[in-house]
Symmetry: C2
Subunit: 228 residues, 2 copies
DNA sequence: GAGTGGTCTAGACCACCTC
DNA sequence: AGGTGGTCTAGACCACTCT
């Protein structure tokens, strides 16, 4: 017996899998499905909305709901604070602040932060450790104009955690690349120059201004994983 | 004026950002917020449910809704078919089937596919091109036992697209790593041996059995990007 | 036990889009 | 112009979990 919006979601998925409703086909309207399953239309809507969000269905007003022809699968990644990521592996997290300077950032950084040419920014280099071994080399630019005062000693509190605790919510973008370790990264992470590093780059914004631009170079062997 | 569930979501976010509701704090109940905003409780529920899904709020029955202390940010990645990915860059997609063999897969592959030691599998090597230049080197194991017949000529139809069109829905996992190009990868992609490659590995399953295990080695410079 | 979120209903109106 | 999904309402019952 099918009941509840999750039951309806599973039943719709089953019909797609067994090709009752093959890719590209228009499935019955919400009203028809509601009648068939004996539920309210809102319940059907909830189920179909979830499947559309997952890329399985495509919905347009008036045109109806179709099974996606080339489903763009959606994968959700969890982006935890580095300390949590290390502790989730059962290891002990530590970090060392290697560099802290302040000054005008290089032009590409300034432009990605949306700063004028003479604006000043804080630059931090931090090495994160897992069980005492290098794990992530973090290089970060901070926009001091939008940070709450007073600023902490980033040698004691990692910028990562101070930010999530003191700048409540932000939007931004995130990118992943593979890059060869340069001389500095190789020395800090204790790997050979040219080693393949998994690199995460994030820019985060408040409603108006950029907060921080951070680059995380992970030690070789790092694996970012999720279920589909 | 605040109205609609999206308006309520933005207002809640605003209050979190300006620290009316700092991290860890319990916010008013759905009923109280519904009264304040002059909407039905279901509308508030929709807004708060979205924010909980994004990792901004934590909700528990009886305990109420709190602002997440260490928000585990969720990023949603689109995993398109390679052809779409190439075409989205305004380039022309092409591909060449380099190898097709059939036989018992190596043990690590068999175990990840959940196959017995003597089971046979199809192995494909495909080079995907963007504007005629190497883009992705795909190596794929297929479990023929669960594939619909007849199998196509994978030199004409890419396995990637044939699967999404003929095996309607599947679950699986996906992982991203950075790896140094081995001799074969370097030769096929036309890069130096040891170059840093962005590698995607996917396993996909039907309800019971594994369908395919695929490894995509992207040419250096590849960037996987999303908004947060 | 009781408070809170999770879900469902029956109905309604609206926005968008195809026809 | 009309059909379809998107959203909202007011109310209800239920599931979970904290006390």
């Amino acid at each position: 017996m099918i009941s509840g919006w999750e039951g309806i979601r599973e039943e719709v998925l089953r019909r797609i899998r067994v090709r009752d409703w093959p890719p590209g086909e228009t499935i019955p309207t919400e009203e028809e499905l509601a009648a068939e399953f004996g539920v309210a239309r809102a319940t059907v809507n909830r189920a179909l909305r979830e499947l559309a969000g997952a890329g399985v269905l495509e919905r347009r007003r008036k045109a109806g709901t179709r099974v996606a022809l080339l489903p763009v699968r959606k994968a959700t990644l969890d982006i935890p604070v580095i300390r949590q990521e290390v502790e989730a592996r059962g290891q002990v997290h530590g970090f060392t602040l290697l560099t802290r300077t302040e000054g005008a950032p290089p032009v590409p950084v300034a432009s990605r932060l949306g700063l004028g040419p003479s604006a000043r920014a804080i630059y931090l280099e931090t090495l994160h450790l897992a069980d005492g071994r290098p794990f992530v080399f973090e290089t970060r630019w901070l926009n001091p104009a939008v940070l709450p005062k007073p600023l902490p000693d980033f040698g004691v509190v990692s910028a990562n955690e101070w930010l999530v605790a003191h700048v409540s919510y932000e939007t931004g973008d995130i990118a992943f690349t593979a890059e060869a370790a340069d001389a500095r990264e190789a020395a800090v992470l204790g790997v050979a120059e040219g080693a393949a590093l998994f690199v995460t780059e994030r820019t985060t914004w408040t409603a108006e201004a950029a907060i921080t631009l951070v680059r995380l170079a992970h030690v070789p062997g790092y694996r970012l994983q999720t279920m589909i």
